[in-house]
Symmetry: C2
Subunit: 353 residues, 2 copies
């Protein structure tokens, strides 16, 4: 090609995806929702089928120095389940494709697969196929998950309205702090074969990074309490980035309150220790796999009773933009820093379409 | 891990998959067929959904020295469509996951994606999602295809019976010879910027390697002529390997006739030129994406009238094993050499679960 060449970093991941999928039109009536949500939605007679896919590459998404293979397998499956739950669906089947370099033995691959199998047993999902091939470089994991939602009930990113309440499950920033901790211990252990990493008092952070869970319980609680979110997304790239996806797809703005963002005690201690801004970590730290959703204002009292869910703000008209109201009452515009290795090559994390 | 370690090459790809998926049980009633065919089959009320996935890694499955990105995109999609057709289904949607290293520009990725889009337009398939992330090494392409078959009509590998006729579409070995040719010209061109590769009289071979098609036309012809194969598979790893999959899954043996194996004139010329055994190339050369299927003996006359389909042998009782009857009438046992980079690290091709 002789024409002008554009670095991918100039567009970033989302820009690249927009460029690649520009003007795509579905030919099948059943293709209800294509690119641009946690999952694709395929209409069948009495059910909507959800499809999501996630690729994990060694030394981009995981570092085998400190990530046990079984945990990696577990997490690889969970991140896909999370996307299905984020549409209000139920994950049913996965396919597992693995690119394996010759330095991996059968026993290592069995460990990895054991983690995938445990996640599937835990969440009631069937492994139905895949592809296994040699890789010249590192380990490649590509999982596709198929789920179901009752006809017309899949919750998209595009349904938020002015005055809707913004809710988030669990707490944020812990997975990111877990990663910082693991990286710190990796550096500290360099060249010391007998090194014992010190995770005392920070077990929660390590677990959030290495063995995240998908919030099936929240989806169940919402259904039991008759709450149907107007929009929903899972937090894989950070609260800011996900909130901006909802605002973009729903054509609205938002206000969230700094003092309402749920943060665990260990996350705060770790941020202090590392001299990092805690709110930045909570806003932009990825991989929490919590659910971010909006509900009509009239659901306020119902949501208030939900355990593990916090209302952090509200949806506005689009012209008001997206902002956080800080503790001192000023407005801080949200930015989708997220984890964008295509835009920022030095970063070690990932974005998801 | 301190236990005994086993090299993956000792098991090969299929052995590894058997080990990893040992004892897998489906929890969902809808999961009708999991690992072990071209596609998984998921039962829905009035339709069977087919799912297949394929991973392509740079320098394992393709060499960008001579594979144009647009062709690569096209082929990446086609190999998935082929798996759906091999179940007698219709491909409907794909997800496209890409791992991209920083040496690729937006324009390069657009070329690749253009090839995928052209294949999708050609075959009436919707792109419904994917994942795009940074790769530290080469290009990674992982595509999952979703298709449909009428309820209970998906053709599996397991339905062949004693006396069934073995049929194959198109011709075999050409894609493999195309690869040999491209590799030869690559070597010849080394260090010569003005080198013009010589493909005169061998255009068919290059096209078979770089721009294969999926045999939708054969599926259509079978339906129009009221022929329902008892078993079917697409030839991605070579005739021998695929035939042995059918025999294993159907618990039967087979006899094929050397002189019935369809081979194009250009393939024969190229084998001669390279001093390669032509029949070995046709038996073990992969990537032809032709259909291999069995039909009841009573369909003989119907199949005989089909254009582009050749009967090459018959299914036997399992105790007779799998063999080719050579031109001189002797029996030559079939071996699944296929392309197994996990068993033979020096090979440049791939196997598919």
């Amino acid at each position: 090609m002789s024409e002008k060449q554009t670095e991918i970093s100039q567009l970033g991941e989302f820009g690249l995806i927009d460029r690649l999928t520009e003007g795509l039109k579905a030919v099948h009536e059943g293709t209800a929702k294509g690119v641009g949500d946690d999952c694709a939605i395929l209409h069948y007679n009495d059910v909507d089928i959800l499809v999501t896919t996630d690729m994990l590459l060694e030394n981009v998404h995981f570092d085998l120095t400190y990530v046990p293979l079984k945990h990696l397998g577990y997490k690889s499956a969970i991140v896909n389940f999370s996307d299905i739950y984020a549409m209000g669906g139920t994950p049913k089947q996965i396919t597992v494709s693995l690119g394996v370099s010759s330095r991996f033995t059968v026993e290592y691959m069995t460990e990895l697969y054991a983690g995938i199998r445990i996640a599937c047993e835990e969440y009631g999902v069937d492994i139905v196929g895949g592809d296994t091939c040699a890789s010249r470089q590192g380990l490649v994991i590509s999982i596709t998950c198929i789920g179901e939602a009752p006809k017309g009930q899949a919750v998209q990113r595009s349904g938020a309205h002015d005055t809707d309440l913004i809710c988030v499950s669990g707490d944020l920033g812990a997975a990111y702090m877990g990663l910082q901790l693991l990286e710190r211990e990796k550096v500290a252990s360099a060249g010391q074969p007998d090194f014992v990493p010190d995770f005392a008092g920070k077990e929660y952070l390590v677990e959030r990074q290495l063995k995240p869970e998908a919030r099936r319980d929240i989806i169940k609680a919402l259904a039991e309490n008759g709450i149907r979110p107007t929009s929903m997304i899972d937090i894989s790239d950070g609260l800011s980035s996900e909130l901006m996806h909802i605002c973009k797809e729903s054509n609205c703005g938002c206000r969230i309150y700094e003092d309402r963002i749920p943060i665990d005690y260990q996350t705060a201690v770790m941020a202090e220790e590392l001299n990092m801004n805690l709110v930045t970590a909570a806003l932009n730290g990825g991989e929490d796999y919590e659910l971010l959703f909006t509900v009509p204002l009239t659901d306020h009292d119902k949501v208030e009773k939900l355990e593990g869910v916090k209302m952090i703000g509200y949806i506005t008209k689009p012209e008001l933009g997206e902002a956080m109201i800080t503790r001192d009452g000023s407005e801080f515009p949200l930015k989708a820093q997220g984890w964008n290795p295509l835009a920022a090559p030095q970063s070690d994390k990932k974005d998801k379409e």
